[in-house]
């Protein structure tokens, strides 16, 4: 048994086992079907293994007094879903206690450079604003619309329990619309395009000028789009949302890119000399003290800072 058990079970064997089980449990099953099933089990060790799982599952299920199992498992399923809902409520209250703001039904929010803000939406969803961000939140009778005018947001959605028929939740930018499908995602507005990164579940994206084409983006994926077209979906760097925890996470980044990213969080001028732009940077950095991040760079890379003032810094060889 040791060697076949070490292999992963092929899924199609399990599918066949399910097929046979469902057939044989039908009141109409006849001897021909039973013989065919026995031949199938004998055909290969994987078939036998798959069927052994069916039997094991049956033993497990019938190890419980039947008149208890059915009510318990039916009720437990419902109760747990309710418990998870109350957990979400607690989570929201917990955030509120930690300096979240409650959003009225229509409002505009701004964050300054270097600042992050967290907003609790009317439906219990959570909107995080990254540095230098501007959003409008507008909940109408037909739609929950969040318009990103500048910067970057992360949205953790909540089901719409405020009205009998749930309204779609949409993040719109000048480039198009991202519709949430029960999810946690990050939207960053750039000058030429918008990038959406999905952390949980999925979203649906449409360009502003080509609204008939919809692309689904699932957890772990990223999509860049402008007003005319959607780029292909690709695997996401999930660290893009680290900012909402106050971190910048870089894994083998060019120093030039790293400095450009860091400059979003600083007022004034921050640049990188071309001679050192190709050096590589890895690490997790706190965004609340970018001076310290820059000092750390000089300790770990062959670079120094040329500073004319707090507002003019250049990273050089």
């Amino acid at each position: 048994m040791a060697s076949p058990a070490a292999r992963p079970m092929p899924k199609n064997c399990l599918e066949m086992a399910v097929h046979w089980y469902v057939q044989l449990n039908d009141g109409d099953a006849d001897d021909n079907q039973r013989q065919a099933w026995q031949r199938w089990v004998a055909e290969s060790p994987d078939h036998a293994r798959a069927w052994a799982r069916v039997e094991k599952l049956q033993r497990q299920l019938h190890g419980v007094p039947m008149d208890l199992a059915l009510p318990v498992l039916t009720q437990a399923g419902v109760e747990r879903r309710l418990a998870m809902k109350s957990l979400l409520v607690f989570a929201a209250l917990g955030f509120a206690g930690l300096g979240y703001e409650f959003s009225p039904l229509g409002a505009d929010y701004l964050s300054a450079t270097g600042q992050r803000r967290q907003v609790l939406l009317p439906d219990g969803g959570r909107l995080d604003l990254n540095t230098d961000t501007q959003v409008d939140v507008h909940y109408s009778s037909s739609e929950r619309l969040i318009t990103l005018r500048h910067g970057e947001v992360r949205l953790l959605t909540a089901p719409d329990n405020l009205v009998p028929v749930p309204r779609p939740l949409v993040v719109a930018t000048v480039h198009g619309r991202v519709r949430a499908l029960g999810t946690d995602f990050n939207v960053r507005l750039g000058e030429k395009s918008t990038t959406v990164t999905v952390l949980e579940h999925a979203v649906e994206v449409r360009s502003r000028l080509a609204p008939d084409i919809a692309q689904r983006v699932s957890a772990g994926e990223q999509l860049q789009f402008n007003a005319r077209q959607l780029r292909p979906v690709r695997a996401a760097d999930l660290n893009v949302s680290a900012w909402s925890r106050g971190m910048l996470v870089a894994i083998d980044w060019r120093l030039g890119d790293f400095i450009a990213e860091l400059s979003r969080y600083r007022s004034g001028h921050l640049s990188c000399a071309p001679q050192v732009a190709e050096l590589r940077v890895s690490g997790a950095f706190t965004l609340d003290d970018t001076d310290a991040v820059l000092a750390n760079l000089t300790a770990s890379l062959p670079v120094k800072l040329r500073t004319f003032s707090r507002y003019w810094v250049r990273v050089e060889a």
Partner: protein
Amino acid sequence: MSTDNFFPQHSVESLYGEHHGWLQKWLRSRIGNGADAADLAQDTFVRLLTARTAPSIREPRHYLTTIARGLLIDLFRRRAVENAYLEALAARPEAYEENLETRHLILETLIAIDAMLDGFGPRTRHIFLLAQLEELSYVEIGQRLGVSVTTVKNHLSKALLQCLLLVED
């Protein structure tokens, strides 16, 4: 300096020292019960200890809350099954004699089955339970729930496959 080191190296001890209090508060803000929060925080670090991943963790709090969230869901599952079990026992016509060990085994099995059926809607769950536990025929289940035999078979197949994927050899 407030910046993390490049490729920080953690030990479980240092993580515990730095984050245990924070994690307990985090859990407490979610379940509003200090004793459960303390237990879950402790269990989270036990998991961390057995996983041996501590040195390579980049964002300890993110990592810890991911573990803690899973434990929280397990706790809810266990409580839901236990509550439902006690209610079902009370609803029995005659008193049911069981020793603690039997009860423990039954509860563990129920919790395991409940976990296998995670993610299925109420209808799939119901069909699976009727077919497996009440041993009703597909026709009877279809009549009871007002759906076709094909629908019954489809739901049952889906649920069974999920269970078989989770059963160990």
